[in-house]
């Protein structure tokens, strides 16, 4: 039977109609038809999950772990997450009530927004920011409030810049450092200022710390570990980047009992639970994954240095990122917009980069390039970009 569309009326709800399309959609189609393209447009590690972690999952399947787990995740994994956070950051979360295992930080973001926002409530975030941040806020009926960040400030969101954007409707500040797309980090003293501001104005802080372990020459700070911040922080953590586990779809959310209970309520109706084999693998990752992390971080760091220096050498000013695996060079000297630059570069030189504007208006004049790719490809891509720059000089 054919479903009849009521004439002239869209079947799609207004919220989704109004949701802006992804800024990189058109590039997908271009790339798909192209051979020999080098991609700096990825957003995940170039490692396969370390074998000992894969092996743990295989073993769990052999043992028959193929069922639902408890809604909030296996007690074993919640315990392991709690122990990991206590050991590394000295924050103590009760595994029975303050930790929820999610299908990636992606789900964690969606749950926290749906759990805390009333229609029209505002969430403050940096601009540029990871694409899901504003989208999750909108889908939950809230309003994303973007605070521009600048290269002069190392793309940090600063307390004094946040304050003017706080209104009666503001519910939360969403932080994501180390940051996608800029690779920026915020030092402890500046985070403390944000913490004090949030306390003073009664705001919740949501801290996406998915890239926390990918830092170079600086120490990561767990926002919940700042003085008196644990109660009013929702910590989102994941396995995707740290352990090269993007395909497993696993993460966790930690916070006070009330918020975690609310998030769990939504999760139990909409997701039921995270995949059990991924949870089994994650326990192994937390217990024995440190060696693999160190090796991967050393390897990312080499390529980070190569790419940053490379961009500066060919005349694209590149801010030195201290975290994640992205560089965010400025292309302002070319006179092109980010979008034009990315499209021309792809068509003429077959190098895939993501225009900064995909992450918000303040990304104009920048492109995001990921260095989670081989040194050979990085050098080849830099060579092609150099050629492109000379051609359009």
């Amino acid at each position: 039977m054919k479903t009849q569309k009521p004439s002239g009326k869209s079947q799609i709800c207004q919220t989704v109609v109004d949701l802006p399309p992804s800024g990189i959609r058109k590039f997908f189609d271009l790339v798909a038809t192209m051979e020999g393209a080098i991609s700096l447009g990825v957003g995940e590690p170039d490692y396969v999950t370390p074998w000992h972690i894969r092996e743990a999952a295989i073993h769990s399947i052999e043992k028959g772990y193929t069922m639902y787990s408890s809604n909030s995740g296996t007690p074993e994994l919640r315990g392991a997450v709690s122990a990991y956070l206590a050991g590394r950051y000295k924050v103590n979360y009760d595994p029975t009530a303050e930790i929820l295992i999610t299908t990636g930080v992606s789900e964690g973001l969606d749950l926290v927004m749906r759990a805390i926002l009333n229609p029209g409530d505002e969430v403050i975030m940096a601009d540029p920011a990871y694409v899901s941040y504003p989208a999750c806020v909108c889908l939950a009926g809230g309003k994303a409030v973007r605070v521009p960040t600048r290269v002069e400030d190392g793309f940090e969101l600063r307390a004094e810049n946040i304050e003017p954007y706080i209104t009666k409707k503001t519910r939360a500040i969403l932080l994501g450092y180390p940051a996608n797309p800029t690779g920026a980090m915020i030092k402890r003293d500046k985070l403390v200022k944000i913490a004090q501001l949030a306390k003073r104005r009664g705001l919740l802080v949501i801290s996406d710390e998915i890239y926390a372990r990918l830092v170079y020459g600086v120490d990561e700070v767990c926002f919940a570990s700042l003085p008196a911040m644990q109660e009013t922080t929702v910590l989102l953590g994941g396995f995707s980047k740290t352990y090269a586990m993007t395909g497993w779809r696993l993460g966790y959310a930690c916070g006070n009992k009330e918020i975690i209970a609310a998030m769990t309520k939504i999760h139990q109706y909409t997701m039921l639970c995270a995949p059990i084999m991924a949870q089994k693998a994650a326990v192994e990752a937390l217990k024995n994954g440190e060696i693999s992390i160190n090796e991967m971080v050393e390897d990312y760091n080499r390529r980070r240095l190569l790419m940053v220096k490379g961009f500066n050498n060919i005349g694209l000013n590149c801010f030195e990122p201290r975290g994640a695996f992205y560089t965010f060079p400025s292309i302002k000297s070319t006179g092109m917009t980010s979008d034009q630059f990315a499209e021309k570069l792809l068509k003429e030189e077959k190098v895939v980069v993501v225009p900064g504007t995909a992450f918000g208006p303040s990304g104009e004049g920048y492109i995001r390039c990921c260095y989670a790719t081989s040194m050979t490809e990085i050098e080849e891509a830099l060579g092609r970009i150099h050629h492109f720059l000379k051609k359009h000089a």
Partner: protein
């Protein structure tokens, strides 16, 4: 700093001085000098490729030989080990703990050639009590590299 350079070279012996300079933050000249010195001091012994000979039609046979020896007064195992490692057919020679003393890895063009080396050269060395030869049937992994099928990255080229 030398350690950083060595680690990079161990991962990829073909890293250029320029690459190494960028990554370590040292001037290129200094990198070149450190490498020259490491070569001279025999910290770096040699640069070579890990070859998957199975892919090139070439006859290669490897044998692992357990060697029991009688250690000699004052020099222990050193003299016998030297007698053995001087043969070019002995690709690697290790002194081990356990039920035998030396492990010798021999490379030859054929099983016959390797066997001849053992019976005609190795076994007759003075002080060698006995040998047990194991022919290698297949190499799965060498020096940390999986031989044969490399895991390919199955990534989408564009992600937010």
């Amino acid at each position: 700093m030398l350690k950083d350079i060595l680690k990079l070279l161990e991962k990829d012996a073909r890293s250029s001085h320029k690459q190494i300079a960028t990554i370590t933050g040292l001037p290129e000249k200094e990198v070149a000098a450190s490498i020259r010195k490491a070569e001279k001091d025999q910290v770096i012994l040699k640069y070579k490729a890990i070859v998957n000979w199975d892919k090139v039609e070439d006859d290669h046979v490897y044998a692992l030989i357990e060697v029991k020896v009688s250690p000699q007064r004052d020099v222990g195992f050193e003299a016998i080990a030297e007698r053995i490692y001087r043969f070019p057919q002995a690709r690697s020679v290790y002194l081990l703990s356990g039920t035998f003393d030396l492990l010798v890895i021999v490379e030859g063009k054929s099983m016959q050639e390797a066997a001849n080396f053992v019976s005609q050269k190795l076994a007759p060395v003075e002080g060698v009590q006995s040998t047990v030869t194991h022919f290698m049937l297949k190499k799965y992994k060498e020096d940390g590299e999986i031989i044969g099928s490399k895991e390919e990255l199955k990534r989408e080229p564009l992600q937010p």
